[in-house]
Symmetry: C2
Subunit: 317 residues, 2 copies
């Protein structure tokens, strides 16, 4: 499998994804401890929280204070999410935020409606406005995401053609606005992808944009998370968004019975890479410590596997 990348980058989303979905609002101190623990693992990007409506998402109301109280480690980016201009302005008022402005697209109208109260088409046009807003603040968005890229719990299967419309729009937008847009993210927001559809879509995106770096935002909703990471690795993908301990899940995704899985578990995906001989720059043992801390904080058995079994390297000695 000569297409495997040599080095694989993981961007950690657990602190936002995990605590945003919980009914309980966890103490700031707990989230500080978790982020500080993640800072010691070798992860280079940690999403700390989101600047969203404190009425709808009270769990994230103290994100500004959280940024001020974590111990920032040199070389690590501490990022945040926002969904509208108000949130972005709030983020701008917090000097500790590391900005990674993204453009967001929906391959599903229903999901766009649910998350942003607009059609997918309107969301595209809004991204044009976002580019200009970022530019006014001397920022260049360098990543574009297409969400629900394999399917949507409300709309069903999403075709490759439908997703590629968005990626072509992104290519045209980057030309129109003269921004390079080096990173294209395929987001399987509701866990519809399988290893073969992942390979097909990556192939299509690479055909369209051979020089772009492709990233995958993978959810493990239906148990195919790690298999989909493997499929993406086979296609040479070297950039993943994931959650320590498998924290998280989308509160708007219409899941059924019980607690559905969220993002693919960071340490499980990192172990896969290490077992395949691929470097990640991550100390798996420290990452397992962080995931066990997350479990202690959340107070129930979390979804990760390696956090419960331990890694393999200590058993090889």
């Amino acid at each position: 499998m000569s297409d495997f990348p040599k080095f694989v980058e993981f961007r950690e989303e657990g602190p936002r994804e995990g605590f945003q979905i919980e009914k309980e609002i966890y103490p700031l101190e707990d989230r500080i401890r978790l982020i500080n623990s993640l800072s010691e693992t070798g992860l280079k990007t940690i999403q700390v929280g989101s600047f969203v409506s404190p009425t709808y998402v009270p769990q994230m109301a103290d994100t500004g204070e959280l940024f001020k109280r974590i111990t920032k480690k040199e070389g690590v980016k501490y990022t945040a999410l926002w969904l509208n201009e108000k949130g972005y302005q709030k983020a701008l008022s917090v000097p500790e935020v590391d900005f990674e402005p993204k453009l967001l697209f929906y391959a599903s109208d229903t999901f766009a409606k649910q998350n942003n109260n607009c059609t997918a088409e309107e969301m595209r046009e809004r991204q044009r406005a976002w580019v200009r807003l970022y530019k006014e603040n001397n920022m260049v968005p360098d990543s574009a995401y297409v969400m629900a890229a394999f399917g949507c719990n409300m709309e069903g299967e999403i075709t490759v053609n439908r997703v590629m419309e968005d990626f072509r729009f992104i290519r045209d937008l980057s030309v129109d606005e003269d921004i390079p847009m080096p990173n294209l993210f395929i987001a399987d927001t509701m866990g519809w992808g399988n290893p073969e559809s992942v390979k097909r879509l990556i192939g299509a995106v690479r055909d369209l944009a051979p020089n772009a770096r492709i990233g995958m935002h993978i959810h493990d909703t239906r148990g195919m998370g790690v298999a989909n990471v493997y499929a993406a690795l086979c296609m040479g993908v070297d950039l993943f968004e994931s959650s320590v301990a498998g924290l998280g899940g989308c509160p708007f995704a219409g899941h059924g019975h019980g607690h559905a899985a969220g993002n693919v578990c960071t340490e499980d995906a990192v172990l896969l890479c290490h077992e395949l001989g691929l470097e990640t720059g991550i100390n798996l043992e420290k990452l397992i410590e962080a995931s066990r801390l997350a479990e202690d904080i959340i107070g129930r058995n979390l979804m990760g596997r390696v956090m419960h079994s331990g890694g393999l390297d200590p058993l090889r000695k």
Copy 2:
């Protein structure tokens, strides 16, 4: 991926694996309900329980009664496990047992010692005795298993060469004893395999025995279960042992913190197959019902993903 099989068979191990590992002894009625529910899913082989020491494994002490009280469905095999002659004799005394005599090999001495109190070498010789014992009862063992085929938590990594010693022994034994031995099982008992090592070992076994049917007994201990099923499917493997809801785990495997994952989850692996367009003969919705019943019985959040999110086909309608 033209090597994918068209039809994939799953053999269900949850009723044994799941209830054997729990500290609590669950009521017979609960296990009867679960097995009856599994009988309606299209699964053709269900391992009901084990005939082992009631002193060491009191959870399985009533396996004989369990066999008598389940509603056997035509076309479904209801099998059992035993580890020594005493257990086998007990199984013989229960006419409801469907016999699938197996030969068991260990690629790890330490694990052989722990499970069977002998070396791996002694275990091999014992299998010769088992062939003869089965023959005396007019049975022909048609499956041979090599356990800890990728690694052992006590011994570390296990090489392909080491595993192939066992498979060569099995080939020679089948010649010596004039038994065809059509099914060769690779068992990743402690979750050491990864998709590439799975492919390599399957390739080596197929080189040795091109006409054998290769089966995989996969554990999800470190989150690579479904990815390993995918890798095996890519190599044309069409036979898997798995556990509904991800029930189970090996109580002797030396796991660390918390509740480690057991066998790969049946319904998650079945969903993978269906998404790849491969038939299984299994009604996924009914299997999800059975896995939710298992969760209700066990009384805590179980490891499966699809049981919590629901399948994809109902969302396509």
